[in-house]
């Protein structure tokens, strides 16, 4: 076998320390099939031309490049091999700049170390196999799950680029949580208004691509992988045809049944046929079969009779299932609040006028159950309000993390109460005040000098005890210094941490997306790949992956969309790196160890043959399955046992 060895002087960086003549002599004394060439700077234009021409002329079977780190120029030299008609995987680099020349105290020592490195590489490269990059067609469509800020932002960015998007939302309306908030921190803008522009564009398909919005829908099954997913989506009947409805609300007025409104968290009521919230988009009512008389076998069609458009109200609608293809999926399923009732000391559901933050958002909202009047359960304006930050956060037994956004919205609540009830006294109980970033601290500056506002630092939720006294909440506390106190209040607002919702957990299980220690969807790399999940082609955006504010959620959505636009490009197939695992079915014993350890769900089990198989599209080539396989059936291509063993032997060979 003929091996071409190319030694780069790196303009003296290498040749100043490593003696190429000694290397050459040593090589030729051991390996008759090898030839040795030097070049002043192999990565320069001149150097690459030299390499390419020389490879064409000598047509070696294998190539060693003794130069810098493969992390710098492996691709450069692989491309040169390719142009010279040699399989690029026949290259092995010997890193004698970073690992030898620059770090070895003297020339002779460096030269000797180089000889060992060369011998390892030489033994290895002889076993290299010709590998080919494979390519597959990919769908350019995207499935976005969740139509809150992250999902809307992602869908819009993709559609603006001309992509087709299927946007699946489980509630009857879009906008997610913020459309339920009257005001948004830090500038106290109106929540629904802020999102309205984005929501209008989506509802009116105002872009080159298209967005198919499926409300009251959930993804029930996903098959396939990156580039070619197929999702089954179940859509529950709204009983109102979106395309026909004028949004006139006549049916709502006609409906004789009232029922608690789940989107006001059970506070206040709605009709059996009703928009979920006043102003919710799309502005189309939905019929709640749990409340409607027709589903109680009573005769009623008042809504249909009142409706101005024939066929707009359709009692015959049934649950439907559709299938959609997608090259990539974005999970933007948002958050839930930590179940406040688990914080027993804090009196939620036991003590009058103790609310959690989402309930308070609705109380303070003009389209909420009290039409924006901040009132207690009894209907009076509160004179004294406690806002309990960190309710369950930073505690091992509840949520061992800081939810990040609560301080900002707690201070927003303070300002909202100040605006409507300027005489009301507000006490903040907090463990830590967290207001990072360029703007949020401003909120604290705006409230701290108000004589009616005070701050008490506490250590643990067990140091607070809220009980009911004459129909009002009373709060006993031990502060961080150990001082005790007792305050009688009219209202308590608890600020529990964000947690992943049950749909997030369900979808994580369905899609085999991993969740981190706090239950949120986990990014492939928290810093560098923050919206990529462990499964290639599945992205995670917004509060389903960590507590986030609206800005972070929309940014995540745009980031996920950007990743998809760069990865799935019209006219370009998906490259599948051949540096992947493969399973030799003849020796696979079917023990499934590889399935359990693959971090990318790239290994599946072929029930028919009782052997494992690798999806090369998902495999990232880490080789952990190859190391774990007890029968030697899993093989890491380009890092095979034989290749690595040969390199071990080579570097240890006695002179």
């Amino acid at each position: 076998m003929k091996t071409g060895v190319y030694f780069c002087n790196c303009s003296g960086n290498i040749s100043g320390q490593v003696n190429s003549e000694t290397i050459k002599d040593n090589l030729q004394s051991r390996h008759s099939g090898a030839y040795f060439k030097t070049c002043e700077l192999l990565c320069s234009e001149e150097g690459i031309n030299f390499l390419e021409e020389d490879l064409k002329e000598n047509a070696p079977d294998r190539v060693l490049v003794m130069a810098c780190s493969p992390r710098d120029h492996e691709n450069t030299f692989m491309n040169a091999l390719k142009r010279a008609g040699i399989n690029p995987y026949y290259l092995q680099m010997v890193n004698i700049r970073e690992h030898v020349a620059w770090v070895t105290p003297d020339g002779d020592t460096a030269t000797q170390k180089t000889i060992r490195c060369l011998e390892g590489a030489l033994q290895r490269v002889l076993l290299h196999e010709p590998l080919e990059m494979k390519q597959v067609e990919a769908s350019l469509e995207t499935l976005v799950i969740g139509a809150g800020p992250a999902g809307l932002s992602a869908a819009l960015k993709l559609a603006e680029a001309g992509r087709k998007v299927t946007l699946v939302e489980k509630t009857p309306f879009i906008g997610g949580m913020p459309v339920r908030y009257e005001e948004i921190f830090p500038h106290l803008e109106c929540g629904p208004c802020m999102l309205e522009g984005m929501m209008d564009r989506i509802l009116h398909n105002d872009f080159p691509g298209s967005i198919e919005l499926l409300t009251m829908a959930e993804v029930t099954e996903v098959v396939g992988s990156y580039g070619n997913f197929t999702a089954r989506i179940k859509q529950y009947p709204r009983f109102v045809e979106e395309k026909n409805c004028l949004g006139c609300d006549l049916c709502v007025e006609a409906c004789p049944v009232t029922t608690p409104n789940e989107f006001n968290l059970g506070m206040g009521e709605k009709k059996a046929i009703s928009p979920p919230l006043p102003g919710a988009l799309p502005y189309v009512p939905y019929l709640d079969p749990k409340a409607c008389l027709r589903w109680k076998e009573e005769e009623c069609s008042l809504c249909q009779e009142t409706c101005l458009v024939e066929g707009a109200i359709n009692f015959e609608q049934t649950e439907t299932t559709v299938e959609r293809n997608a090259g990539a999926i974005i999970l933007a399923t948002g958050f839930s609040l930590y179940p406040t009732e688990k914080l027993g000391q804090l009196g939620y559901e036991k003590v009058n006028s103790v609310y959690h933050s989402l309930e308070f958002e609705r109380i303070a909202a003009e389209n909420g159950p009290t039409e924006g009047q901040i009132i207690t359960r009894e209907g009076s304006f509160p004179q004294k309000v406690a806002i309990v930050h960190c309710a369950g956060s930073l505690e091992e037994e509840h949520a061992a993390y800081c939810s990040g956004v609560c301080c900002a919205y707690a201070l927003k609540f303070n300002l909202m109460i100040n605006k409507k009830l300027p005489e009301t006294e507000i006490v903040h109980f907090f463990k830590e005040l967290t207001l990072p970033g360029a703007e949020d601290y401003e909120l604290y500056k705006r409230v701290k000098d108000n004589p009616l506002t005070s701050f008490i630092r506490y250590h643990s939720s067990s140091d607070l005890f809220i009980s009911e006294k004459e129909g009002r909440p009373a709060l006993q506390y031990v502060d961080q210094q150990g001082a005790t106190g007792n305050i009688e209040l009219d209202m308590v607002i608890l600020c529990p941490p964000m947690v992943p919702g049950k749909d997030t957990v369900r979808l994580a299980n369905l899609l085999e997306v991993t969740r981190g220690s706090n239950g949120f969807l986990e990014a492939l790399h928290g810093k560098m790949e923050a919206t990529q999940s462990n499964v290639k082609g599945i992205f995670i955006a917004g509060a389903c992956q960590s507590p986030k504010d609206i800005k972070a959620a929309t940014t995540d959505g745009a980031s996920a969309a950007g990743n998809i636009l760069s990865a799935l490009v019209e006219g370009r197939k998906l490259d599948i790196s051949p540096v992947a695992a493969e399973i030799n079915r003849d020796i696979c014993s079917g023990c499934k160890v590889c399935l359990s350890i693959c971090p990318f769900k790239a290994v599946s089990f072929d029930e028919e043959n009782k052997t494992s198989q690798v999806n090369e599209l998902l495999c990232q080539g880490c080789g952990t399955c190859a190391a774990a396989c007890p029968s030697g059936a899993a093989r890491g291509k380009h890092f095979t046992d034989r290749q690595i063993t040969a390199e071990i032997k080579g570097v240890l060979r006695n002179e």
Partner: protein, 147 residues
């Protein structure tokens, strides 16, 4: 090993130049070793680096192979916990290291001859320190008796 090398660095065991194989993951530790290179601060020349894509690729058999081929020591360097490019390969490597240590002890090879550590892409200095310490440890232990 040639004599020049030994004469340059006065180690405790003047005549012993240990052979050490280092398995480094591509994304963190190998990059850390590159960073150490960029810093151009000399360190002992006794470690030969073998690049693997992930520390999780390091089969305990590679370690045994290295010892049977004449290595006096082996180091396995991985991404820090939570930083693995492949999510959890470094945890696998850590688990396998424990198993390998047990194997080595059963074979009568001092467990100190195998070192597992975490080196990130930015930790050039840590890489240098790990190499220095490993070389020191192996020098103190002396050559592995290959019988």
């Amino acid at each position: 090993m040639n004599n020049n090398e030994i004469s340059q660095k006065p180690y405790k065991e003047e005549n012993f130049a240990p052979k050490i194989v280092g398995f480094l993951c591509n994304w963190c530790s190998y990059a850390g070793a590159d960073k150490a290179g960029t810093a151009q601060k000399p360190y002992p020349p006794h470690v030969n680096i073998i690049r693997v894509m992930c520390s999780g690729r390091v089969d305990p058999e590679f370690v045994l192979q290295a010892f049977s081929e004449g290595a006096d020591g082996v180091i396995i360097l991985a991404c820090h916990p939570g930083d693995c490019h492949y999510k959890e390969g470094n945890y696998r490597a850590r688990q396998r290291h424990q198993i390998t240590v047990n194997l080595l002890e059963a074979l009568g090879i001092e467990k100190e001859r195998l070192r597992f550590d975490y080196v990130s892409a930015g930790e050039g200095e840590k890489f240098t320190r790990v190499v220095e310490e490993a070389v020191e440890t192996i020098k103190n232990l002396g050559p592995l008796n290959h019988g």
